[in-house]
């Protein structure tokens, strides 16, 4: 019955569906950016790994530790012993200016100098092209996302930083993790090039198991020779992504809320005019003995269905337009670029549809009650 008359109100129904589709598309779209960013930042990182910075530093860029602190750290209890000693990598972290392929403008690309144990500490690293850099040489390997996003980072390319020329000898992946946005080289080569032989910025260590972390942390923080901050790698990565994540989510929520209000008004308008157009029909039904409830339900169902159609269109649109879209942005916390892919997850789509349903319910409720409360005689008299 409801749908038989739907055809008569194509215009306003279409407008309402359109409005709700817009809301859901934006809601899902914006959150997929935040999601994708967070994924890239936290995809990898093992709870068995710990990151050590100087106390007070909130990112690797700000941290600096003396060489001898590095030796104290690698002697700490709980670190896995590899063939060539403890699995601890003292690393340098700088940014270099390289042009983005998409725009040609300079971007801060992270360049990381790693210790020999780095590949054992972060065991997700996999060379997909070329080979690892040779220790002691001006060679680098490039993360897959960095190679795709920044110019001059293909295999065998060379680039100049300061007095040195660096050759790209390999490309690597890390299961979509943050390292894929970075360039890696040997810390022993990078140190002198940046006049940082005496210093390093962060140490990454592999612990025997995830539970060792607390005792390892206590051992380091209570050592009077050190002033360090010890963080589990997984926590470290999510800390580093909160700034941008929160910014996108706040702005996204703000926009989505405003839009939802706009869409509710649109839906209300549609449903009120639907009720107005069907006044006589509703009056007849009531005169035949139907009470208010079926009327309310039928109008609510119509409103919710319109919202669901809109929501599905919007969600589908967002999924089609945004899922997997490659982008890179600067993470102000690390002052360096992060490449990532927008991620439209099923849970995001479900949230979007729920959101649409809510709009439908609110948009249908008031008109439904108005229809149900209309005196039968007035309704029948309407043209």
């Amino acid at each position: 019955m409801t749908f038989a008359t739907l055809g008569q109100r194509k215009g306003s129904s279409f407008a309402s569906v359109f409005g709700i589709a817009g809301v859901v598309a934006v809601f899902v779209g914006v959150l997929s950016i935040a999601n994708g960013f967070r994924n890239a930042m936290t995809a990898t990182g093992s709870p068995r790994n710990a990151v050590i910075l100087r106390s007070g530093a909130s990112s690797e860029m700000m941290s600096s530790l003396r060489r001898e602190s590095g030796r104290i750290i690698s002697d700490a209890p709980g670190i896995v012993m590899g063939e060539n000693g403890p699995l601890a990598s003292a690393e340098l972290f700088v940014v270099i200016s390289l042009p983005k392929i998409s725009t040609g403008t300079d971007a801060n690309v992270p360049l990381r100098g790693v210790g020999d144990a780095a590949f054992d500490v972060r065991d997700d690293i996999e060379i997909i092209e070329g080979r690892r850099f040779e220790p002691g040489k001006n060679e680098v390997i490039v993360g897959r996302a960095a190679a795709a996003e920044f110019a001059g980072l293909q295999l065998n390319d060379k680039f100049q930083v300061g007095p040195n020329e660096w050759t790209v000898v390999g490309t690597f992946t890390e299961r979509g993790g943050i390292s894929e946005s970075e360039i890696w080289t040997d810390a022993k080569v990078l140190g002198p090039a940046y006049a940082r032989d005496e210093y390093f910025q962060a140490a990454y260590v592999r612990l025997k198991d995830a539970d060792t972390f607390d005792s390892f942390k206590d051992a380091l923080t209570s050592d009077p020779r050190l002033r360090v901050k010890v963080t589990r790698q997984t926590d470290f990565y999510s800390e580093q992504s909160t700034g941008i994540y929160m910014m996108i989510v706040t702005l996204g929520a703000l926009v989505a809320t405003l839009m939802a209000i706009g869409a509710i008004f649109g839906a209300l308008n549609t449903m009120f005019s639907a009720v107005a157009a069907r006044t006589r029909e509703i009056g007849t039904l009531r005169a035949l003995g139907f009470n208010g409830l079926p009327v309310i339900i039928s109008i609510l169902i119509e409103s919710i269905l319109l919202a669901l159609v809109g929501g599905s269109i919007g969600g589908g649109l967002a999924w089609w337009a945004f899922d997997g879209y490659q982008a890179a942005t600067i993470n102000w916390q690390t002052f360096s670029q992060v490449a990532f892919a927008f991620d439209v997850t099923p849970s995001l789509l479900i949230q979007g549809i729920c959101y649409a349903t809510l709009i439908g319910v609110v948009g249908g409720l008031f008109p439904a009650f108005r229809a149900a409360r209309m005196p039968v005689t007035t309704a029948l008299r309407e043209i």
């Binding site: 990112s59 308008n269 009120f272």
Partner: protein, 385 residues
Amino acid sequence: MKFLPIIWANLKRRKLRTALTMASVLIAFLLFGYLCAIEEAMNAGINVAGADRLIVRHKASIIQMLPMSHKERIQQIPGVQSVAHATWFGGIYQEPGNLHAQIPVVPEEYFEIYDEFILPEEQMKKWKETKTGAVAGRTTADKFGWKIGDRIPIQATIYEKENGEQMWEFDLVGIYDSDKEGADTTQFFFRHDYFDEAQTFAEGMIGWYLVKVDDPDQADAIAKTIDEQFANSTFETKAETEAAFTRGFAAQIGNITAIMIAIMSAVFFTILLVAGNTIAQSVRERTEEIGVLKSLGFTNPQVLALVLGESCFLSTLAGGIGLGIAFWLISMGDPTGGNLPIFYLPTRDLVTGVICMILLGLLTGIAPAIQATRLKIADALRRAA
């Protein structure tokens, strides 16, 4: 104007619908306001960049520092009026979420180059007398409730003091304002001599130079000369105009901004379309009335004006309120709590907004208005029967 009562009466006939339509238009323009402010924030500073200012940084990246000795050599380049320097301190006030820039500078040099910052003379004098003195921008001072004379503790993240102490304390001697729309009044400046003596991390080094040139047309040529001066040294430079530097900085955020702006614009137009549809519909419903008006002797241009007047009245009233609310909310500050230091609604966007409202009114009104003028009186009256 004499038609205003008719327009008003027409809007009142279906109060609920008028209210809902106005509310959607209002929301659309509220969104528009935020859209403009966010875009402005992401491109922060480009519009206020001085054409006669250059920024000189280390060639490899801005995190690499430059020696203070560069200053004299830059000063000697013909066409250079004055040189100042700045460094990123990167400290934390109370909690890590409180983001605002703290920059050690030489007071008179820096404020001479950034002449849009206004600092009362006696405060500048006090600053020159107080080694631990600092000045804060109005926005930041208001946010944290700082008053002149307060002692401000800032926790260093990069620059420890000699004894490993990480807490720096500053005496707030001044608060600066700006007379330029969009200037960054969130920064916190303190004295470079205090900074350089107390820290051990990078003595004699600074972050970047600011150069004021005599003639803005020569800016690019002078930038080139500066870079040539230091070519092939350990500290090679990259000099560019402040606008180019800021644009580069904004470009680092990447296409995320563009995407968010595109999404929001799409929404803005969606809402307008939906609202526009309703406005048009409400005129269409009144065909018979227009017939009555015409039979009473209203001319076609008058009917056109009446219908367009109604739609424009509705869109500008609702849009104006929406943009007004946006302006008020935006002036209360950045919704992300400090991630966007420059957050305001530029005047030119207000103008764009008003143009959009009028356009909306005209576009939604024009089709039914033309229909109304073409209508034959007899047809119109017959429809009512």
